[in-house]
C-alpha cells in the first residue's frame, strides 16, 4: 500500500474528510466527489506492515461481492481502489447508527423486537436471493435507513454462489463473530445459508432478553459447546416473552441446520403471522435440557465433522419455497379441488422443505352490507376456515409448515396477488374453471393472477367434458 488515508487526501476524484470509525481491520472515512451528491463513506483496510493475508483476502472478497449486490438492503458501491496504490471501497453513506446501539439497550419491548427481527430477516432474504451468504451477522453489520429498511454491510467473510471461495483456501480456523456464529461454521462449513438464520436467531434472543444465548466466548473451545449445550430459554429470563416468539428464536437456534427455518422467507412468514405458529416443546420450555440429554448430545456431537449442507444457496431456496394454494370450496368445484390437492402433493415430493399457505377468498360486495355473518348466525369466516382445513387434511406436512388464511376482497385475484407478495410466496397453485362466455368477457381470476403475480403460477384445469352431438341436428 503506497498511500495511507488521512484527511484531505485526494484519490481517484474522492476527497477524504473526517474519520468516522476506526475498527480492528479497517477505517471508515467521510468522502466527497465532484460527480456524486450523495453522502458517501470510504472503507480502507488497515493492512499491517509486511504480509497481512487474512485482512487482504477479506477485503478482496468484499471487493468481489459488493458490486454484484443491488437493492435497498445493500449499500450502493461508488468506487473501488487498487491495492497497488490504496485499497478502498466507497459506498453511499447510510444515515443513522447501526443496530449495535439498539442492542446495547436490550431487552426491548416485544413489539419492537418483532419489527426489527422481521426487517433484519427481510434484508437477509434479499441477499440470499442474490446468492450470497453473509456468514458474519452481528448488530454492528445492520444499519437502518430512515425509511425503515435494514442495510447489511461488511461482506469480508461472505460467500457468493457464483464466485470461488478465496477464504476457504486461506484460513484453517473458523471465521465469524463468536457470540453469533453457527455450529456448522465452527466446523468450517461455509456454504449453508441457514448459518445466517442461526446468527439471526441469536440476535433476536439478545434483543428480546438483553443476554446473548451463549454469552461472550473468547476461546474456540467455548464456541464448540453450542454443538450440544442448549441456551437458557428466553422465557426463563423474561416471562412476558410470548411462547410463539420463543418458538421462533429456539427454532432458529437449532444445532442441526435441517431443524431450523429453511429460508429467511419462512422465518419472516412466522414473524409476520405469529397466530399461525404451532407451538412445540421449544416454545413451552422454561429450563435448559437436563444434564443426561446434554451428555448424550455431547457424546454424538463432539466427534461430528460436518452437517449435511445444501449444494448452493440457490438450490436451498429452491427446495424450501413458500407455496400458496388458492382453492374455491363451492360444491360444484369439488373435482377441481381434488385435482389441486393431488398436484400439491406431487409438488411436495420434490420440495420436502416447502411451506404451504392454503388460501380461500370470500368475495365481498363492492357496496352494501357486510356478508361475513350469514342469516343462520354462523360466521362465514369460521365456516370457510373449517372447510379449508378439512380440504387440506392429508397433505403430508407437519402442522407448522401448513397454514390457513381466509381473505376478503371485492376482487379475489387482487386478494391472492397481495397475499402472495406480502408473504414472499415463490409459487402460486390454483384452479381455473372451464370456459364460458361470461368469463371470456369479464376475465377469470386465474388469468389475472397469472398476468399480474410476481412469482410462478401453476393453473390446474379439468379436461372439458365431451359434448354430446345430436346426429339429427342440421348445421
Amino acid at each position: 500500500m503506497a498511500i495511507r488515508p488521512h484527511p484531505g487526501l485526494e484519490i481517484d476524484g474522492f476527497t477524504l474528510h473526517q474519520q468516522l470509525h476506526k475498527g480492528g481491520f479497517a477505517t471508515i472515512w467521510e468522502v466527497t466527489h465532484a460527480l456524486y451528491r450523495t453522502p458517501m463513506v470510504m472503507k480502507v483496510p488497515t493492512i499491517l506492515d509486511g504480509y497481512d493475508g487474512p485482512t487482504i483476502v477479506g477485503f478482496e472478497v468484499e471487493q468481489m461481492i459488493m458490486p454484484r449486490l443491488s437493492g435497498v438492503h445493500v449499500p450502493r458501491v461508488m468506487g473501488q481502489g487498487d491495492f497497488a496504490v490504496m485499497p478502498y471501497i466507497v459506498t453511499e453513506r447510510i444515515p443513522g447508527t447501526s443496530m449495535y446501539s439498539y442492542f446495547k439497550r436490550a431487552p426491548r419491548p416485544v413489539a419492537e423486537v418483532i419489527e426489527l427481527a422481521a426487517r433484519m430477516a427481510e434484508a437477509l432474504h434479499d441477499i440470499h436471493r442474490q446468492q450470497v451468504i453473509h456468514l458474519d451477522l452481528k448488530p454492528d453489520n445492520f444499519l437502518q435507513r430512515p425509511s425503515g429498511e435494514m442495510v447489511l454491510i461488511d461482506y469480508g467473510l461472505s460467500r457468493h454462489d457464483q464466485l470461488p471461495d478465496l477464504l476457504a483456501e486461506e484460513f484453517t480456523i473458523p471465521m465469524g463473530t463468536f457470540p453469533y456464529i453457527a455450529p456448522e461454521q465452527y466446523l468450517r462449513q461455509r456454504g449453508d445459508l441457514r448459518s445466517d438464520l442461526y446468527a439471526l436467531g441469536a440476535m433476536i434472543y439478545e434483543l428480546a432478553t438483553g443476554k446473548m444465548p451463549f454469552g461472550q466466548p473468547e476461546k474456540l473451545s467455548q464456541v464448540k459447546q453450542r454443538l450440544w449445550r442448549d441456551p437458557l430459554p428466553p422465557r426463563a429470563i423474561r416471562a412476558d416473552i410470548p411462547e410463539w416468539l420463543q418458538e421462533i428464536i429456539l427454532r432458529a437456534l437449532e444445532v442441526d441446520p435441517a431443524k431450523r427455518y429453511q429460508s429467511a422467507a419462512q422465518m419472516i412468514f412466522d414473524l409476520t403471522n405469529p397466530m399461525q405458529i404451532r407451538l412445540t416443546a421449544r416454545g413451552h420450555k422454561l429450563q435448559r435440557d437436563p444434564s443426561l440429554a446434554v451428555f448424550k448430545r455431547w457424546r454424538t456431537m463432539r466427534n461430528l465433522r460436518a452437517f449435511a449442507a445444501p449444494p448452493s444457496v440457490a438450490a436451498q431456496i429452491e427446495r424450501a419455497p413458500i407455496l400458496l394454494v388458492a382453492v374455491d370450496l363451492s360444491p360444484e368445484m369439488e373435482p377441481l379441488c381434488q385435482a389441486i390437492y393431488l398436484q400439491i402433493k406431487r409438488m411436495l415430493v420434490n420440495r420436502p422443505d416447502a411451506r404451504v399457505a392454503c388460501v380461500n377468498v370470500i368475495k365481498t360486495a363492492r357496496l352494501g352490507i357486510d356478508q361475513a355473518t350469514d342469516a343462520a348466525g354462523n360466521n362465514l369466516h369460521v365456516a370457510r376456515l373449517v372447510a379449508l382445513k378439512t380440504w387440506a387434511e392429508g397433505i403430508d406436512l407437519t402442522e407448522d409448515r401448513l397454514t390457513y388464511s381466509i381473505l376478503e376482497n371485492t376482487d379475489p385475484a387482487a386478494a391472492i396477488i397481495d397475499h402472495a407478495e406480502a408473504n414472499r410466496v415463490d409459487h402460486i397453485l390454483m384452479g381455473a374453471r372451464g370456459h364460458s362466455t361470461t368469463r371470456r368477457f369479464l376475465g377469470s381470476v386465474s388469468a389475472k393472477v397469472v398476468a399480474e403475480a410476481a412469482c410462478s403460477v401453476t393453473v390446474i384445469r379439468l379436461p372439458a367434458k365431451p359434448v354430446d352431438t345430436d346426429p339429427n341436428r342440421i348445421s
Binding site: 487482504i56 471487493q63 468481489m64 491495492f83 457464483q162 464466485l163 470461488p164 483456501e169
Partner: protein
C-alpha cells in the same frame, strides 16, 4: 472490450464451428488464438483457412508446438501426434504452411501476455498443471494477466502481493473478477480435444472493462469428428479420446 480466448483447436472443424457459433451470439470484440490450430484432428486445411480469414479481420493468433511441427521436425511429440503431423503435412498447401510458420510464439497486449505453453520458456512447450509449474511464468515477466493453453485442461492461478501462487477453483460458467491485488495466469481449456473428462469444447471470455474471466463449455458433434478421424486413417485412440474427453 470483450475477448474470446480459444486454444488447441487441433483441426477439429465441428468443435471450432460450434464455438464460433456460440461466440456469434455474444458480444465479442476480439478473438485470440493461443496456438495448436492443427494436429490430432482430421480437418487441418479447413481450420487453417478459417483462422487465416479471422486473422485478416483482426484476430490475434499464436503458434503452438503442433503448428511448428508441420514445418520443423519435432522429436518430442508422442507417436500418435507425430503420425498425425506426417499426415497433416501432406494436406496443407504451401500458403497454409507459410501462414503457420509466420505465427509468433507470444503476444504482449498492454498488461496481458498471451503464450501457447508457458511464459518462462515459450519455445520449450512446458505444461502448467500445478502451482509450482505456474510460478516461473509469474517470475519471468511483469504482465498482470498471462493466458496460455497447451494442457487441454482449464485452470486458473493467482500470484498475490507476497508472491504466493495459488490455484483458484473456477468452475465453467462462474465468473472470476481478476482482482488488481493479484496477478493472474489463466490456462484455457481445449476447443478441439478436451481432456478433463467432458467432451464439450472449451474456451474463455475475458471482459477487459469488467476485468472478469469466465470459462465456457460448448456442445458439438464429436461423433462426426471421430468418424472423420477414423475414415482418414488416424490413430483409433484419438477418435476414442474425443468421445470420452480424456
Amino acid at each position: 472490450m470483450r475477448l474470446a480466448l480459444l486454444t488447441d483447436i487441433h483441426a477439429n472443424r465441428e468443435a471450432f464451428e460450434a464455438v464460433l457459433a456460440d461466440l456469434s451470439q455474444r458480444q465479442i470484440d476480439q478473438l485470440v488464438f493461443l496456438g495448436d490450430i492443427v494436429g490430432y484432428g482430421p480437418d487441418p486445411g479447413w481450420c487453417v483457412d478459417q483462422l487465416e480469414a479471422l486473422v485478416a479481420k483482426g484476430a490475434l493468433a499464436l503458434r503452438g508446438n503442433h503448428d511448428r511441427a508441420v514445418t520443423t521436425p519435432d522429436n518430442v511429440l508422442n507417436s500418435n501426434a507425430r503420425r498425425v503431423i506426417d499426415w497433416t503435412v501432406n494436406r496443407l498447401n504451401a500458403r497454409q504452411k507459410l501462414f503457420l510458420s509466420e505465427l509468433p510464439l507470444t503476444i504482449a497486449d498492454g498488461d496481458t501476455l498471451f503464450t501457447h505453453a508457458s511464459a518462462n520458456d515459450p519455445a520449450d512447450w512446458l505444461y502448467i498443471t500445478t502451482e509450482s509449474t505456474a510460478r516461473p511464468s509469474f517470475l519471468v515477466c511483469d504482465a498482470r494477466l498471462i493466458f496460455c493453453g497447451h494442457t487441454h485442461r482449464a485452470a486458473l492461478y493467482s500470484c498475490d502481493l507476497a508472491g504466493r501462487v495459488g490455484q483458484i477453483n473456477l468452475a465453467a460458467g462462474q465468473t472470476m473478477p481478476l482482482l488488481h491485488s493479484r496477478r493472474w495466469l489463466g490456462v484455457i481449456g481445449s476447443v478441439g480435444q478436451p481432456r478433463d473428462g467432458s467432451t464439450l469444447a472449451s474456451y474463455a471470455i475475458l471482459d477487459r472493462d469488467l476485468n472478469e474471466l469466465s470459462f465456457r463449455r460448448v456442445a458439438y458433434d464429436a461423433t462426426t469428428t471421430a468418424r472423420k478421424s477414423r475414415e482418414a486413417g488416424l490413430p483409433e485412440a484419438l477418435a476414442q479420446r474425443l468421445m470420452k474427453g480424456i
